[in-house]
């Protein structure tokens, strides 16, 4: 219950404090929105390219054919492979698991933990570095992949132990 209201609560707190302090709330809000529009125009090209590439890969069912005969469910493995690349692709695999096995099941539990506890790290790195034109990003990707692999293995261990 609380989690669905938290954004609204944050908004209300900020706006009420601003009104109490007698600032120009509306003017500064519009100014911020303008800046956000500029930022989203700036990052749009690199986001667009990543989005197209990942969706091409996700729609082709390449991974599902490789891991057809594994012990752990194919959907969990493909969710795990797509999690650092794209939130929406791995979210669609999570919904697939929910409707196939139920959200109450062991698989549904593990896949929601996996979806919630890490972020789409490679995606974030690529759009930050692509927008700011910084080179030599292999160290960032190395660190994030190592951390992600450890988290994924912990998730698989929990799944096998439960």
């Amino acid at each position: 219950m609380i989690s669905s209201y938290i954004i609204l609560i944050i908004f209300l707190i900020v706006f009420i404090t601003s009104i109490i302090k007698k600032n120009n709330t509306y003017t500064s809000f519009i100014k911020g929105v303008k800046e956000g529009f500029k930022t989203s125009l700036k990052i749009a090209p690199s986001m667009f390219v990543m989005y197209i590439a990942i969706n091409l890969f996700a729609q082709s069912k390449f991974i599902e054919n490789i891991f057809k005969s594994s012990k752990i469910s194919v959907d969990l493995i493909s969710q795990g492979l797509f999690r650092p690349l794209s939130s929406s692709a791995s979210l669609s695999f999570m919904i697939k698991i929910f409707s196939k096995y139920g959200a109450d099941s062991k698989l549904g539990y593990i896949s929601s933990i996996l979806q919630g506890s890490v972020d789409s790290s490679i995606y974030i790195i690529s759009y930050y570095l692509g927008t700011c034109n910084i080179k030599g990003s292999y160290k960032c990707i190395l660190i994030c992949l190592l951390v992600y692999i450890i988290i994924f293995i912990i998730c698989l261990i929990i799944y096998l132990l439960l």
Binding site: F15, E35, G36, L91, G102, G116, I134, C140, I151
Partner: protein, 135 residues
């Protein structure tokens, strides 16, 4: 866009300054010799990520990155981006909202999710320290 408006309002009402003052102290241990204004941008970005408003964090993150790039702090760039990408989050909102459409008792994942994302945050810091030392 909506969230960057919210951030602007919060900046004008002095809320951001109060919040970042508490976060700057532990962040100074990670980013040792950088200026105060870059540190403010970094702590604003990490706070937004922690509260789950990753859209609001983008503009302050880009600001901080551009400043770091101009000053030539290469190791700090790596630390900042990896901390940002580690996804340390208080409540996973979209997972919870999807999960609550399937079952009624959907809050059992909050504690394990928080513990795992804390683990990934700490691991990111450790790997950063190792990489900086052996470089």
């Amino acid at each position: 866009m909506l969230f960057s408006g919210l951030i602007e309002v919060a900046k004008d009402a002095n809320i951001i300054n109060v919040l970042t003052k508490y976060i700057n102290k532990p962040l100074k241990l990670l980013f040792k010799n950088i200026e105060e204004d870059i540190l403010n941008d970094i702590s604003l970005n990490l706070t937004c990520n922690f509260l789950g408003m990753s859209n609001a964090s983008i503009s302050s993150g880009l600001n901080a990155l551009n400043k770091l790039k101009d000053k030539g702090y290469n190791n700090e760039i790596i630390t900042f981006i990896t901390l940002n990408a580690s996804g340390f989050c208080l409540i996973p909102q979209n997972v919870l909202s999807i999960r609550s459409t399937y079952i009624s008792n959907s809050f059992d994942i909050i504690l394990p999710t928080f513990l795992l994302s804390l683990t990934s945050f700490i691991l990111t810091i450790i790997f950063n320290k190792i990489l900086v030392r052996y470089d």
